[in-house]
């Protein structure tokens, strides 16, 4: 469940859990988060929460709403965003993100079924529909299936699965390149910047060099002849490339090397 931490001059005043579909912020007493300060408008802003996601919207306030230093009209809140209203700060904390161990659980596909649960979410105010047309009906449909799928952790703990999966797109630290050693273009260099680089002649012999977090690999793609690395003919499996490996492909020799 996401929450807001209200503070002024570095002093924490209170924590507010975002349990409602609409959490209003303003100077007037009927707001969910009342901030009695003249810099804050009577109805200043609203946070619309749809399951795990929260959206902040300025309600045409006099002094505006600022998130992470940028004035916003509407903003999709991310963990640790700082909302500024005059001298007050609201920090948005989404524990679904903070609790990494639970992250895998949230990856589980679940079914949203309209009308199956009376919901922790109260019936949306009429203005909610205007603010977020589809959000209202969708949010009213609560995750009924959730309970049934909650026991996935049991199976998971049995494996040596990493708690925090590796970060996406972790490119190898070093860049790779090829230098042609023979043929018409001998001496030319080719940087291996793309995730996939094909080499050879289509229809005759093609191999691909893949750039992975673990390093660079060469794999045969098509043709009757397989590539040769350091004088050894490869099989259909991917072959890990080391610095200064010599590749022979479609009659051309080239050297693979790592760049620092």
């Amino acid at each position: 469940m996401a929450k807001l931490i209200l503070s002024m001059d570095g002093l924490v005043l209170k924590e507010i859990a975002l349990t409602k579909e609409r959490t209003t912020i303003g100077r007037k007493p009927h707001n969910d988060i009342q901030i009695d300060n003249l810099a804050v408008s009577g109805e200043h802003a609203v946070i619309v929460t749809i399951l795990q996601d929260s959206f902040l919207e300025d309600l045409g306030s006099t002094n505006g709403t600022v998130v992470n230093g940028q004035p916003i009209k509407k903003h999709f809140l991310q963990n640790n965003d700082i909302i500024e209203l005059g001298k007050y700060k609201l920090r948005y904390v989404n524990e679904a993100v903070a609790g990494q161990a639970k992250a895998a659980d949230f990856e589980k596909t679940m079914v949203l079924r309209p009308g199956s649960v009376k919901a922790a979410i109260p019936a949306p105010a009429p203005s909610a529909a205007a603010a977020a047309p589809a959000a209202a009906p969708v949010a009213a449909a609560a995750a009924a299936g959730a309970k049934n799928f909650g026991d996935s952790v049991a199976g998971q703990s049995a494996t040596a699965a990493p708690v925090a999966p590796p970060k996406p797109a972790a490119a190898p630290q070093k860049n790779g390149a090829l230098q042609l050693l023979s043929g018409a273009n001998a001496g030319k260099e080719l940087d291996l910047t793309k995730p996939l680089t094909t080499l050879g002649k289509p229809g005759v012999q093609v191999a691909v060099i893949t750039r992975r977090p673990q390093g660079f690999f060469i794999t045969h793609v098509e043709g009757a002849i397989f590539p040769v690395v350091n004088g050894k003919i490869l099989d259909a499996q991917a072959h890990s490339l080391n610095d200064h490996d010599v590749i022979e492909l479609a009659g051309v020799k080239m050297e693979f090397f790592l760049k620092t």
Partner: protein, 274 residues
């Protein structure tokens, strides 16, 4: 009717880096022009049971029915294309089987599955889908997502609440608004598309498209199109390299040549008298 030689099919499925079970199921029959992919959900092994039932029912029943029925003809009682009728009926059948198993056996309570099916015939394909498993098309250099997810995020994107870019940061991933086996009745979304030789179709579970960007998927399909099996393995490997947080399944179909329906007068006459 057989499409032998018109389509090349390759597939790969993997539990990923985090999960111990593979709850995805895939099945294909290149000669009948039929590919099916399902991503199951439910506790313990119920997800595997649901997705396995879906692919098995749909592939085995359709294989038999396609021996007798011609997908591009009109089904007389319903006025629908036979392909649509068959898909409707068999998806309903799979739904009932899963729903009844879930109702009658406590360990399967609440299980369900997504589904994407493509049936190729007469230079066309009919695609039926439920949930967030997808079908993409590569034509030339352009990769296009053909199916539209039945998910909370897609509904939010459609109504302008969030942008597709914001959707990638959402915490509400994997909330599907339709699934097979959850309710007594389910409606699949069914559409027809023209196909062209050299098109490549990709069916995948969300374990691929959540972990690998469309650009990288497109690059892999273009670069490795001459070795479809390697291409399928590469896509799964890329998803794993990026974290592999869910099960990953891909089916690739490449159109090798035209496969028009027999349109001679005699063929049509034969069709009438059947």
């Amino acid at each position: 009717m057989t499409l032998s030689g018109a389509l090349e099919v390759a597939s790969c499925t993997d539990p990923g880096m985090v999960r111990s079970h593979n709850e995805d199921s895939i099945a294909s029959d290149g000669n009948q022009g039929l590919v099916v992919l399902a991503d199951g959900m439910g506790g313990y092994n119920a997800g595997e049971v649901a997705s396995g039932m879906a692919t098995t029912v749909i592939i085995t029943e359709l294989q038999q029915l396609l021996e007798k029925r011609v997908p591009y003809e009109i089904d007389v009682p319903s006025g629908q294309l036979v392909a649509h009728r068959l898909l409707h009926e068999q998806i309903a059948k799979a739904n009932t089987s899963i729903y009844q198993a879930a109702q009658s056996q406590p360990q399967y309570a609440g299980m369900g599955t997504t589904l994407v099916v493509a049936l190729f015939y007469d230079n066309k394909m009919t695609v039926a889908h439920i949930g967030d498993s997808r079908l993409y098309r590569l034509r030339g250099r352009e990769l296009r997502q053909v199916t539209k997810d039945h998910s909370l995020l897609q509904e939010q994107i459609d109504s302008g609440v969030i942008t597709p870019q914001q959707a990638r940061q959402s915490q509400n991933k994997n909330l599907v608004t339709r699934a097979l086996g959850i309710d007594p009745i389910v409606e699949a979304e069914i559409h027809d598309y023209e196909t062209q030789p050299e098109d490549i179709y990709l069916l995948c579970s969300d374990g691929l498209c959540d972990m690998v960007s469309d650009d990288d998927i497109g690059l892999a399909l273009q670069t490795l199109s001459s070795n479809l099996k390697l291409c399928a393995q590469h896509l799964v490997q890329t998803a794993n390299d990026n974290g592999g947080r869910d099960n990953i399944s891909v089916i690739l179909v490449r159109v090798l040549r035209d496969y028009p329906a027999p349109r001679s007068i005699v063929g049509k006459m034969m069709g009438w008298f059947k």
